[in-house]
């Protein structure tokens, strides 16, 4: 398990290795050739298998923000451990530089190096909490770099981070705000497969509560729900006291400072309230003809009086489709003839006039009649409504 990550390579989409970090001995870049081979085979960047074996090493990789994080492993390790850690590295970059991109990493290469060294020691993760890291290595800001260059002070903290060893390693001590405030965002995502006839094959809600806490001192918070029964499958941030949840169904915690994900949960289809939109679609192709008809309409179902907004529809059209000639009643659409993806930015639904998109599809001549039910993907937002019907009761 140890020496879990031997080396790390960061690779961009065009296959350049632009950063390498070795925790033990230097492993030659040529080990990445096995990765490139797999990448070539997979055709699509998203299909590169996460675990690749090579004669002397294992390569475990993740694909995030158009970058591959490829780690080199030499002994039997838990792959989830490595993958989780790599995602944590990417999260940290995002947190520090505002984006996890090749440019951002190259611009801050020394901080990146310091961070990697601080996060992992001999394969043992050391400090991965952003609160602690920020005490050890200060994130770059324009102001600070100006100040540093004038005063000659550095980005590296020289005292031991206070949270590191306390029983609440996620929070730093001595936090002070003039305005004490706490925000919670509840984001619920419905994951549903709906068949041609409109009935739901499978649906579940993936929800998260993200928090932004700016409170002084050591605040101890409790959060209770109207119907905690719905939350039977939850993953908690380590700050939540599990015992209290088990016995009283109350979230009780001392929060980290700043932004963090408090819980994520899943509500399965048994508890699901109806999906708030419906889609009617009809796509037909004539036999032996190089065109077809396309027609989709969207309408609200049961929206509890709230407006549905920010709707976008994505359709993966069959490969033989050359072009599409459509008219939307509202919003705008684009069709990418290379990826064959149709995107329709609908906007809001007004119940008086249901949005629709109609028109002709041009096919490659001579090609066989394609499949008539491509998959549709719909995204939308409803403000101030949790589909699962979860409501917060009280703050203490």
């Amino acid at each position: 398990m140890a020496k879990m990550i031997h080396s790390l390579f960061l690779i961009n989409c065009s296959g350049d290795i632009f950063l390498e970090k070795h925790w033990k001995s230097v492993v030659s870049q040529s080990v990445c050739d096995y990765f490139f081979e797999a990448q070539e085979k997979a055709a699509d960047v998203e299909n590169v298998p996460p675990v690749i074996s090579t004669p002397h090493h294992y390569l475990i990789s993740i694909y995030r923000d158009k970058l591959f994080f490829v780690s080199v492993i030499q002994t039997e390790v838990p792959p989830l451990f490595v993958i989780e850690f790599l995602h944590r590295v990417a999260d940290t970059f995002q947190d520090y530089f505002g984006e996890c991109s090749e440019a951002a990493i190259k611009d801050n290469v020394v901080i990146v190096y310091e961070l990697l060294e601080e996060m992992l020691d001999n394969g043992f993760p050391l400090a991965t909490e952003s609160n602690i890291l920020k005490e050890l290595i200060k994130p770059p800001t324009i102001l600070r770099s100006v100040v540093n260059s004038i005063t000659g002070s550095s980005n590296v903290g020289d005292t031991l981070p206070t949270g590191q060893l306390s029983n609440i390693p996620w929070r730093r001590a001595g936090v002070k705000y003039t305005n004490n405030e706490a925000y919670f965002d509840v984001v619920e995502e419905i994951d549903a497969i709906i068949d041609k006839s409109g009935s739901t094959v499978f649906a579940e809600i993936q929800g998260v509560i993200d928090a932004c806490i700016k409170l002084s001192g050591m605040p101890d918070l409790s959060l209770s729900f109207m119907n905690p029964r719905l939350l039977d499958d939850v993953s908690f941030h380590p700050c939540i006291r599990f015992k209290r949840w088990e016995s009283e169904r109350v979230l009780s915690f001392i929060p980290p400072d700043g932004n963090f994900r408090l819980i994520s949960y899943r509500v399965s289809s048994q508890n699901l309230v109806a999906i708030p939109v419906y889609v009617k679609h009809s796509i037909s192709f004539k036999e032996n003809s190089s065109c077809g008809r396309f027609d989709i309409t969207i309408g609200p179902k049961q929206n509890m009086g709230k407006t549905i907004e920010g709707i976008t529809v994505t359709v993966h059209m069959p490969k033989v489709v050359l072009n599409m000639n459509l008219t939307p009643t509202q919003g705008s659409y684009t069709f990418d003839p290379v990826t064959k993806v149709l995107m329709w930015d609908v906007g809001k639904i007004t119940p008086q006039k249901l949005p629709s998109l109609k028109g002709l599809v041009n096919l490659q001549s001579g090609a066989p009649k394609p499949e008539e039910n491509p998959s549709l993907n719909i995204q939308f937002k409803i403000q101030q409504l949790a589909i699962s019907g979860k409501k917060c009761l009280a703050w203490v």
């Binding site: 001995s25 074996s53 002397h56 039997e76 770099s145 899943r266």
Partner: protein, 948 residues
Amino acid sequence: MTDSKYFTTTKKGEIFELKAELNSDKKEKKKEAVKKVIASMTVGKDVSALFPDVVNCMQTDNLELKKLVYLYLMNYAKSQPDMAIMAVNTFVKDCEDPNPLIRALAVRTMGCIRVDKITEYLCEPLRKCLKDEDPYVRKTAAVCVAKLHDINAQLVEDQGFLDTLKDLISDSNPMVVANAVAALSEIAESHPSSNLLDLNPQSINKLLTALNECTEWGQIFILDCLANYTPKDDREAQSICERVTPRLSHANSAVVLSAVKVLMKFMEMLSKDLDYYGTLLKKLAPPLVTLLSAEPELQYVALRNINLIVQKRPEILKHEMKVFFVKYNDPIYVKLEKLDIMIRLASQANIAQVLAELKEYATEVDVDFVRKAVRAIGRCAIKVEQSAERCVSTLLDLIQTKVNYVVQEAIVVIKDIFRKYPNKYESVIATLCENLDSLDEPEARAAMIWIVGEYAERIDNADELLESFLEGFHDESTQVQLQLLTAIVKLFLKKPTETQELVQQVLSLATQDSDNPDLRDRGYIYWRLLSTDPVAAKEVVLAEKPLISEETDLIEPTLLDELICYIGTLASVYHKPPSAFVEGGRGVVHKSLPPRTASNESTESPETAPAGAPTGEQPDVIPTQGDLLGDLLNLDLGPPVSGPPLTTSSVQMGAVDLLGGGLDSLMGDEPEGIGDTNFGAPPPAAPARVGAPIGSGLSDLFDLTSGVGTLSGSYVPPKAVWLPAMKAKGLEISGTFTRQVGSISMDLQLTNKALQVMTDFAIQFNRNSFGLAPAAPLQVHAPLSPNQTVEISLPLNTVGSVMKMDPLNNLQVAVKNNIDIFYFSTLYPLHILFVEDGKMDRQMFLATWKDIPNENEAQFQIRDCSLNAEAVSTKLQSSNIFTIAKRNVEGQDMLYQSLKLTNGIWVLAELRIQPGNPSFMDLELSLKCRAPEVSQHVYQAYETILKN
């Protein structure tokens, strides 16, 4: 103002310029220069030449500069060991720094410098840091012990660091505990025998307490360590489970999976009647499902593990089928895994939904995925009987799409459906035949040919169809050729009148024009069967086939149990034990599930049978491609042939083909029953009958019975494991060979290490050099229940068919039971073949010795034998090596000996015994034989007998 400026190279002499900057007086400039050096390092540039200059910057109060220099040191110290010594003083000083951050940093960096000379200086500071008042330093030092151990294990043991590390398990700070556990686990991994992690209820309790308080990574270390512990009884197991369960709600999926591992393992010890057992099962499902909403990489690993969990305990996820439905934007590697799990979970209750999904998948774009989906439909049909009809009609719909690869996959699975439900769905054959032309893959062609042959009587133009395949016979793959041969023979037996010519044609193609031994042998066998006894041929070839069941790709139970212990590791991703792939395999310990302690349960095989599988059915298996023996003639391994098969007399050490002799004697015989079929001339490729053999093999039969009468009990080697349980789905076979009073036997010990009862044992030998064959069927009187062992002595004779093996004494054995057929090979000691009448007449000996050419003489040395001439002679005699004369030449004893093998080959020996050391003799052995290839093995027999 960004770091990218560090990458801009100046015209020439970059290194030179950096050197100047590093030696600058200005602090700021120095720092910038070090940053440039680090930046070059990150892209793999070699900046090791700057080593002394960078090290000079080490002594500074500036923490950032210090850290940067340390980063550099870690990377390059190994390449500049002498220079690295320069840094030691600063390290030692930093370990005394009042700032704990600097103390920890120093000890951490020192551990990363893998230079022997430095490690010596590391010991004292490390010892102090392990006892530091600051827990941050202690936890860093704990990891450092593991690093040091990797560089110099002996040093760590001598310095007593291991004991200090063990003490840290009781530290008051949970992070220190977690790191100590991690370090100890790592060290223990390289010393599997050492008892480093001495887990007992007290230390387990400490670990469980620390588990609640340490960081997520620490929790993983502790959970993985807990998984190696074996609780003393079910109560302890339950209490550990109770304290581990909260980890299932952790946001870190690696923590969740490690917790799942502990629970899956300890559940094994809990009684199923316990309420708690049910509760635990319920608690396991949601976290596993949640793993599937994570990033695709995490999903993939989770799915590979769920695949194992579903096989071990299908009840956990049986209601969660829908979460495994494939999403259109899943990466392909996730899709394929989900499909696998869907089939494992398919049952009568959810089959309708599953089928509807699978049908959708079969119209997707990705070819691999579509193929797998079509196969999955077939597997559903075999697994859930009630759905078979729907599956078949779905497959027919798919065939109508005329998409080439869909059609081919569909035909392959329909063949299996026919085997599972014979005489039920044959109405679809017509549709299949329409697609004959589009089949271009061997597997699909073979499947189609099998169908045509099997149902020849219902297909009017079966002969035309098969004939059309025959045209390009030599271009087909072996799989198709074999299938075509069998199918045409079947056709012939069903419609003898019209297809004579066809069968002649295929037999001659297979036997004369083919270089493939499998094909040729099978061709000969059919040819002989047809020509000797067509009725028997019919019985054999058209015999009823055993039904197949769905569990063709289940992991065998012993391996599954081991893999359950490795949940969350690479082994669980590859579904192989770590010993099979981890480099070096340094002492990988086989892990096993703890035994159930509650007494009210005997076995758990019925439980592990997947839901929906009809119990009581024998799980026969779809023969895989390599399974030729089972596939051959559709013949099950029946009771072994006890009488001599077709040829016996032509025994010689050369290549003797089983069929060579018999074929021509059978030639021209008019087979009864099939009218006046005439088989053509024997193929010229068949070896001609071998002339008069040197020693008639048959006469040995009598020799054996009228043996010399000396009750000889030759040397019996100890039993060795011939077939490990890992390779034979839980059946372990060990054995040895004995020869007593003229009869040879194979002493077997069968152990059932699987979870299910084993019955229906049978054994068969492949042809071998001396015609060894079982003289009686393998009789295992009672079914072999799990963990039971039986000892069987199987009598052997030497009248089996002969084929020269390499090595000569190699014996290939097939053992069948209700689970499968297993193959192994073993080497038998040659002395079991030494017959009792091997004593040659003196005159004869002299004449023969002269007669055998000198190039047939082989010489060997046997060193350090503790016996004198007399004892040697006696000892050898008991193994049927007879001393004919004894001489003493210049103080050396010379023994002249003879022995005879079961096939009549004589071996003459001259044994010179010369005193070597005071108590040991050196023997010099000269062997003369007409078949010199046996000499080596005779010598080995000598050596074994004399040294035991």
